[in-house]
């Protein structure tokens, strides 16, 4: 009866489901009004309300108790409760598994909007472990996790880019910002091996199967767990030594369909771009460089005057290439719509995601036919279903698909940025009447190569299409009938990946600019005449490539868990098999293994666990394919002991330790090294008057029949504590790992012939140790409308090369043994020679590279070996490795009523970046770019005036072989940083009025990533790799969006 008028009242409502919801709401409001009236009449009043979680999702079955009474109720499926109170009872206690207990004073209105906050490290938390899950309280391994909501605060395209500083143990470095190619490198507890390639990277499992982290839609992540110690990773056997990341996607929750729509729109801008010199400064300083070299000036006073007057844009151009080519902002959009719900017997989660990330090149669309600007579009589809077929039998199907469509310039990014940093400001006017300019009269000496614009365009473009399909089918059958607690499960997975990459190009029209021969005055002569240099061609096909991978995976397990009095026992035996075809004609990559786990705890106080992985791959010789990787761990929850004082001060205290061995078969990407020594075609020679090519056979490899995986022996000691009524949590871990059998090239004398054909042997040894801690604090006022929290975590990991059969070195500083992995060697710079007296000092060590002699303004190196000569023997460790040893993060958040603000700082320490070449040296080859610090190079005047000096004296030909440009600490940059990594301001509109329009929750937010960075690193983002700077810049992202739940 009510439906018709309602329809008129709210004409914007369209769906019958929503109509139904509205009807219910209305009914509720009416009921509520009735109750309210009743309450006015009686002494006893009725209180009602809705309980939601922190993101506005209603919570069913929340226990609502009246404090100091035995009265209580619980919320219904729609999160609602109604309870009658007497005047004495004014405080309600809300408790729900996984959420913090809340005590709230009943407001006079009797209407309550209750939001429960997820409990930090809740005792009831379930932690995903290898091939299963455990209650956090009984976990004895070192496992940390990142919360989905924290990942979602970061408006980044790849989950990997949101991880640094969010949890202990993750060391992440984002090297660049190109759309679709900006994925951070992740290491767990640092780097434990020097075998090279990807050998130090962790194993990443998505829903139990090794899959890429990159394409995941963050909105579909249920949990993100990081398995760090041997106890957690031994079950992965030969693949677990570098730690394991396990991502589990969301599954449906019982209840009505819940829709969640998220929409984000972001602006990206480079975090940092170098400041380059303009034409006038460039010309002046370049002349200074020439003067220092004793060569003639490149620019006349006339030229400099023209540059200054900026009135001759063609023959005296002044281009800031970064401004010219890089946009101030480029857009990014991300959307997700998901739906979840179901009954107790059938639940579903279906999600549709879309990401569109645009690149930063301004003139990428110069031609209508193609774009050389990067663009990355990703479509994510996921459908996860759970069915309980019978009381004992359930199945789960998880299907995910990632489709991406991307476009790039066919020129390598490093070439494009390399050209930008190779270009001087006056090399070319770039465009003349929309024509791309090649040669310009009078600029030839400066125009040594094509312009960056040409570099961006001339190779054409590269269009990629990829589709990845991930399918999991899992089933579980409880065998309680045989014996209580016994169950068995099988999981089968199939992945396929397809990538097509098409290359197209066109001949770019080029024009030469000539001076006007008829010119009689400057105005006329400044107007050039354009002559064709190269004609325009049509777009043409230039090749394509395909990648086709597929993988099948299966696991089957028998699990057991039971309780005998205070004894809790658990066990698992599981077999796995994996076969992966990488699309080339290689044999498939295979893994097989058996995993065993036994857990025991006594009364939740004494915990013990044994994990054993027994697995192997096709990559090792028959008979040596399989290895056993055991681990043992113990835990002791002291706070459960009777003698432990029951106070609010210390509410929880657990100590845990683990030890075990794990393997790593990512040994530099080598396959079948055990095969016997072999020959291959090659070594052709030519004979006869016709120069006939005579085929040869040459040695290919000398086999290593005993090749095996790396072995890591890992120790972990940890402590978990909670204080002050669980408001403060603290966790700390110490770890130590010894990595043996690292595959490494033998040190073989050259007389052997060709040492490169000798297969590497398992000879290397390294250690990696460190500590990490995590501190959490969360509190709220009694009313529950103000909540604030602080989290901090810190990870430190330092490795050391113990043995690598290194060629003995004459001086200890030259050896890699004892150094850290990735440690750079170089000369130790000690300032700059400032005076002729210093240069002429007979005690000054001579430099091997000083040629005709050093001069004031040259770098002073330390004669480390004190032989009076600066040469390569004076090299020592310089700086820190390029992967940070320290990563830390800290979040501060406050929520007041519907407003929420969170601030995330993240930093890295003990990390250095070597900037050489274009990234550091002005005027390379006499014509390349110069950054603004060229004006801070050494000169007598600057020295005498006491002005800061950051570069040696200028030269027009800096080369890596020259004294000042040798690999030295002078060019090593401290790349540690502290970032304001993320800020989010959000408003949660979950007031009841939203219900009227069928919306349960609306969250509107503004967030930003990489907002500010404090670092000593000059010119570039501190996370760029050792390089000459030709890296696509990392982006700052400012994002606005909303999440709507209905």
């Amino acid at each position: 009866m009510l439906a018709k008028p309602m329809k008129r009242l709210v004409p914007f409502l369209v769906s019958p489901q929503q109509m139904k919801a509205i009807r219910k709401c209305l009914l509720f409001v009416l009921t509520f009004c009735l109750i309210y009236q009743v309450e006015l009449q009686a002494q006893e009043r009725t209180v009602s309300g809705v309980v939601t979680d922190n993101v506005g999702k209603v919570l069913a079955s929340v226990s609502v108790a009246v404090k100091n009474s035995d009265k209580g109720t619980s919320t219904n499926e729609e999160g609602r409760f109604v309870i009658n109170l007497t005047e004495n009872n004014s405080v309600l206690v809300f408790t729900y598994a996984g959420f913090s207990k809340q005590e709230l004073i009943v407001p006079a209105s009797g209407l309550m909007q209750v939001m429960l906050q997820p409990e930090v490290n809740a005792l009831t938390d379930v932690v995903v472990v290898g091939y299963g899950s455990q209650k956090r309280v009984s976990v004895t391994a070192a496992i940390s996790n990142v919360k989905t909501e924290e990942i979602l605060r970061s408006p980044v395209s790849s989950v990997a880019n949101a991880l640094a500083g969010r949890a202990t143990g993750i060391i992440a470095v984002q090297r660049g910002g190109e759309p679709g190619r900006d994925i951070a490198d992740i290491y767990i507890r640092g780097v434990g091996t020097f075998a090279g390639g990807n050998s130090a990277r962790p194993l990443v499992l998505v829903d139990g199967v090794e899959r890429s982290l990159n394409g995941i839609d963050p909105y579909t992540i249920e949990s993100f767990n990081i398995l760090k110690d041997a106890s957690a990773t031994a079950v992965f056997g030969v693949r677990g030594a570098n730690g394991v990341i396990i991502i589990t996607t969301k599954t449906g929750a019982t209840g009505k369909p819940q829709f969640s729509l998220s929409s984000n729109f972001a602006w990206q801008e480079p975090v940092r771009l170098p400041e380059t010199l303009g034409a006038v400064d460039y010309a002046r300083l370049r002349n200074t460089a020439a003067q220092n070299d004793g060569s003639p000036s490149l620019f006349s006073d006339y030229d400099i005057e023209r540059f200054q007057r900026q009135d001759d844009p063609y023959f005296h151009p002044d281009i800031n290439w970064l401004d010219y080519l890089i946009r101030d902002y480029s857009p990014q959009q991300q959307y997700n719509l998901n739906m979840s719900g179901g009954t107790t017997d059938a639940r579903y989660f279906v999600s549709l995601g879309f990401l569109n990330q645009d690149g930063a090149y301004k003139l990428g669309n110069f031609f209508d036919e193609f774009s050389a600007n990067p663009n990355f579009k990703r479509y994510n589809l996921r459908a996860n279903f759970d069915f309980n077929l019978t009381k004992d039998w359930s199945i789960a199907i998880k299907a995910g698909s990632e489709i991406s469509n991307s476009n790039y310039s066919r020129s390598n990014t490093s070439d494009i940025f390399g050209t930008i940093y190779s270009a001087n400001p006056m090399m070319s006017p770039v465009l003349f009447e929309d024509k791309i300019v090649r040669n310009v009269d009078g600029l030839t000496a400066l125009q040594i190569s094509n312009t960056p614009l040409y570099q961006l365009l001339f190779n054409g473009f590269n269009e990629n299409f990829s589709s990845a399909l991930n399918l999991n089918f899992a089933t579980r059958y409880k065998l309680d009938k045989i014996t209580k607690g016994l169950s068995t499960r099988v999981m089968l997975a199939y992945d396929s990946y397809y990538l097509q990459s098409v290359l197209r190009r066109k001949q770019i029209p080029l024009w030469d600019l000539r001076r006007n021969p008829a010119a009689t005055n400057f105005q006329d002569s400044a107007q050039p005449i354009a002559v064709v240099n190269q004609f325009e061609g049509p777009i043409s096909f230039d090749g394509e490539s395909f990648v086709k991978n597929r993988k099948a995976y299966g696991e089957a397990a028998i699990e057991y868990t039971n309780k005998f009095g205070l004894h809790n026992v658990g066990g698992m035996i599981l077999g796995t098999i994996e076969r992966r075809y990488d699309g080339s004609n290689q044999l498939p990559f295979n893994y097989m293994g058996v995993v065993g786990r036994a857990t025991y705890n006594y009364d939740g106080r004494y915990l013990a666990e044994v994990n054993v992985g027994y697995n192997g791959s096709e990559n090792f010789a028959v008979g040596q394919q399989f290895g056993v990787f055991p681990s043992f761990s113990l835990g002791y929850v002291i706070s459960e002991e009777k003698f432990f004082p029951k106070t609010d001060a210390v509410t929880f205290l657990k100590m845990r330790g683990s030890y075990g061995t794990v393997g790593n078969d990512k040994i530099g990407g080598n396959r079948f090294l055990f095969l016997p020594s072999s020959f291959q075609s090659g070594g052709n020679y030519f004979l006869g008057i016709n120069h006939t090519n005579m085929p040869g056979y040459r040695e290919a490899t000398l086999g290593n029949p005993n090749v095996t995986w790396e072995k890591a022996a890992k120790l972990n000691l940890g402590i978990d504590m909670k204080f002050w009524d669980n408001k403060i949590s603290f966790s700390a871990d110490y770890f130590r790992e010894e990595r043996n059998d690292i595959l490494w090239q033998l040190n073989i004398p050259i007389t052997f012939g060709n040492p490169a054909i000798v297969a590497p042997y398992n000879i290397g040894q390294a250690e990696n140790k460190g500590y990490e801690f995590e501190l959490g604090f969360t509190n709220s006022n009694r009313k529950g409308d103000l909540r604030y929290w602080v989290n901090a975590n810190y990870t430190f990991a330092r490795n050391k090369i113990i043995y690598m059969d290194e060629v003995p070195q004459p001086f200890p500083g030259l050896e890699m043994t004892g150094s850290r992995i990735g440690q750079m060697k170089g000369l130790l710079a000690n300032g700059i020679y400032n005076t002729a007296d210093e240069i002429n000092d007979p005690n000054r060590p001579r430099s091997q590279w000083e040629g005709t002699g050093l001069r004031p303004g040259d770098i002073r190196y330390v004669d480390v070996n004190e032989d009076g000569l600066i040469d390569d023997n004076d090299r020592v460790n310089i700086g820190d490795p390029n992967i940070p040893e320290i990563i830390y993060g800290s979040t501060f958040g406050v929520q007041w009523k519907f407003l929420e603000v969170s601030v995330f700082f993240q930093g890295a320490g003990n990390v250095s970046t070597y900037l050489a070449g274009e990234a550091s040296w002005p005027f390379i080859a006499g014509t390349k770019t110069a950054f603004s610090n060229a004006s801070e190079s050494w000169s007598e005047e600057r020295y005498k005036a006491g002005l800061p000096i950051t570069l040696p004296r200028l030269t027009a030909s800096p080369e890596a072989g020259k004294h000042n440009y040798r690999q030295s600490s002078f060019w090593m940059q401290d790349a540690s940083y502290l970032r304001l990594k993320n800020v989010e301001i959000a408003a949660n509109f979950n007031k009841s009025f939203l219900d009227k329009i069928g919306v349960k929750n609306l969250r509107v937010y503004l967030n930003g990533q990489n907002l500010h960075t404090w670092t000593k690193m000059p010119f570039f983002d501190p996370e760029i790799p050792n390089s000459n700077g030709s890296i696509y810049p990392v982006m700052r992202v400012i994002n606005g969006g909303f999440n709507l739940q209905f």
Partner: protein, 649 residues
């Protein structure tokens, strides 16, 4: 539902069983099998075995041409980015980037030598040894392509032995005593105190120079009789009996030479036996002379002779003798490297070496003026005099009077690139671009003349070497390149040198010299001839004369660099140290010189030339230290603890 549950249970058991079976079945873990070419499969068939021999050829290469950065890893490919000639007094590589300059500036050393890739040589030795050790496994069958007889097997083993000995020779002339590798080296892993270390058998320690010489000579002696005098046309490039005789000859000449034929080496060292023969023995000259004579005798009886073709003329005959290996007129090359063949237009060797065609500006090769002054003669065999200053016209006329072999290797401003007219349409004619200083002797430089723009600073050293490259094809810029390893002319010079050391005035010595002079376009030595009268009976003057003749005849063929070491004269002023000169042209007054064109008549050209003068000026001072008589081993190899470093490094 019960049946369903049973079914499920069954399913589980099935899967579990399948997994169990799979685990026990290693087929799942599939591995490659049978597709590996092992040493047994290579040497069980003559065709495959020949491929192993081809590989030995491909890695036992002596090749003075650069083929790219680092010479593509060839053991001896000039210096990095350049020709080896630029690392001695016969040449210069313009610009500081040229790696040959390190030799001239004295900045080369254990970690920076950039001439000799020792790893390539040892891998050649290894490959040859693999063939030598396994050839007798090959069944004696005829496959249709190869008739593998015992005699043929012995011949191929002999070829591999000479290749291996040649690589030892190349190492020996640089380092002195070296490790002798007479078997395939193998790796042995040893566990030392818990860590695994690798060693190699045979042990990689250096042997005395005497033993190395003996090893090379023994390898030659063992092989000579098994080798053929000649090969069919399709096999040209393989080791002949002549190549073995030649290798023996040059090895014995090295052993007789002043650098090593002594009890005290050029640099004092705790390991003298590595650097010298241990005593001074004049009899070594007789051995060397006999070996040279044996080579010459073999050559002449097998149709070899110096190329002296009337239609080519003297200069081009000499030119073709080194470059045109397959020219039917050329019977002079005993052994050459066949790894190049035709190089494409714009190939590095052309760009780096050619001052005109694809000039790379800062890496062109030049002839220093002081070398020209002390070495080359005029067309009559008389010393030339080039004043320090003069007019361009005078300079041209001096250049034109030079002996033919100079014209074959040098290009000077205003000269034609080649007499056969190759490259003329690429600016190789006598109007090709060159540099003059504007206005005065110290003015800024500019490029004048026709043809393509010179890149960078052009060709400021004045006179450029064009040997090898002046056979570049006019239309497409390609060139056929075959590095001459043993050329008959060398053995006449070796023979003359050794005879003079045995005793002056030997008529056979004069005869050998005259064979060289005759083809070189110089009057023969005979009584009444000024040179003859000077040197006859005067061992010292004859020695100097023979060395000078050798510098001219073997110009640019990687002899001078080693000869000045062998004679122990590298330290002399103007050889590997001291001031080096170039010529520079400059205008007499501002803006007077106009670009010459082919249309100019002789009078106009002369008038134009008279507006320009030349000046000889120093361009660099070179540095020498006696330790440089012997190369340093790479520091990294010395650090491994097997090789003793040469003294001073």
């Amino acid at each position: 539902m019960l049946y369903l549950k049973k079914y499920i249970l069954f399913l589980y058991l099935g899967v579990a069983a399948a997994l169990t079976i799979a685990t026990s079945c290693s087929r799942i873990l599939e591995q490659p099998d049978g597709s590996i070419i092992t040493i047994d499969s290579v040497f069980n068939n003559p065709d495959n075995a020949m491929r192993a021999l081809n590989n030995a050829y491909a890695t036992c290469v002596v090749n003075g041409f650069i083929t790219g950065a680092g010479g593509s890893g060839l053991s001896d490919a000039g210096t990095f980015d350049g020709f080896l000639l630029a690392a001695s007094d016969e040449g210069d590589q313009f610009g500081s980037g040229g790696r040959a300059n390190a030799f001239n500036a004295g900045t080369w050393g254990p970690s920076f030598q950039d001439e000799f890739a020792i790893g390539r040589v040892t891998s050649g030795i290894r490959n040859a040894s693999i063939f030598i050790e396994n050839a007798d496994k090959v069944p004696l069958i005829n496959t249709g392509t190869i008739n593998w007889t015992a005699q043929f097997r012995d011949q191929t083993v002999a070829e591999a032995k000479i290749l291996r000995a040649l690589m030892h020779y190349e190492m020996m002339i640089r380092y002195g005593g070296i490790p002798i590798t007479d078997q395939v080296p193998t790796v042995v892993i040893q566990n030392n105190g818990g860590v695994n270390q690798a060693t190699v058998v045979p042990v990689a320690t250096r042997q005395s120079l005497r033993r190395v010489i003996d090893f090379i000579v023994k390898s030659c002696d063992e092989s000579i009789n098994a080798l053929p005098d000649a090969y069919p046309q399709n096999d040209l490039g393989r080791i002949t009996k002549g190549a073995a005789l030649a290798l023996k000859s040059v090895t014995l000449l090295w052993a007789a030479s002043p650098l090593v034929n002594t009890a005290t080496p050029a640099v004092s060292s705790p390991y003298d036996s590595l650097l010298c023969m241990g005593n001074a023995d004049p009899a070594r000259w007789a051995t060397a002379a006999a070996a040279a004579k044996a080579t010459i005798d073999w050559a002449t009886s097998n149709g070899y002779a110096l190329l002296d073709d009337a239609t080519l003329g003297k200069a081009e005959s000499y030119n073709y003798a080194t470059g045109a290996v397959f020219d039917p007129r050329n019977k002079e090359i005993i052994h050459f490297d066949h790894s190049h063949g035709q190089e494409a237009g714009g190939a590095n060797v052309i760009r780096w070496g050619c001052p005109i065609y694809f000039s790379w500006g800062n890496t062109v090769m030049a002839l220093p003026l002081n070398f020209i002054r002390k070495t080359y003669r005029d067309i009559n065999g008389n010393d030339i005099s080039i004043p320090d200053n003069g007019s361009f016209t005078d300079f041209k006329s001096i250049m034109k009077r030079m002996e033919p072999r100079f014209h074959a290797v040098a290009w000077w401003p205003g000269s034609q690139y080649t007499f056969t007219g190759l490259m003329n349409n690429q600016g190789g004619n006598d109007t090709a671009k060159f540099l003059v200083r504007r206005g005065s002797a110290t003015g800024t430089t500019q490029q004048v003349g026709a043809g393509p723009q010179l890149i960078g600073n052009g060709i400021p050293n004045g006179i450029h070497q064009k040997k090898f490259i002046n056979l570049v094809n006019a239309t497409n810029g390609t060139v056929n390149l075959y590095w001459p390893i043993f050329r008959l002319a060398e053995f006449y010079l070796d023979y003359a040198e050794a005879l003079n050391e045995i005793g002056p005035g030997n008529p056979e010595m004069i005869n050998a010299i005259n064979i060289i002079r005759r083809r070189g376009g110089l009057p023969e030595l005979a009584p009444g001839n000024a040179t003859y009268d000077q040197i006859i009976g005067n061992q010292q003057l004859a020695r100097e004369y023979i060395r000078r003749e050798r510098a001219i005849e073997l110009y640019g063929e990687e002899h001078r660099f080693f000869d000045v070491r062998r004679w122990k004269i590298a330290g002399q002023n103007g050889v590997m140290q001291g001031q080096f000169d170039r010529i520079f042209l400059h205008e007499n007054g501002t803006g007077t010189y106009v670009n010459p064109t082919t249309a100019m008549n002789a009078a106009t050209r002369l008038q134009n030339d008279n507006r320009v003068s030349y000046r000889i000026e120093p361009f660099e001072t070179r540095v020498w230290s006696d330790k440089m008589y012997f190369y340093p081993f790479p520091q990294n190899e010395v650090n491994k603890g097997f090789l003793v470093q040469n003294p001073g490094w």
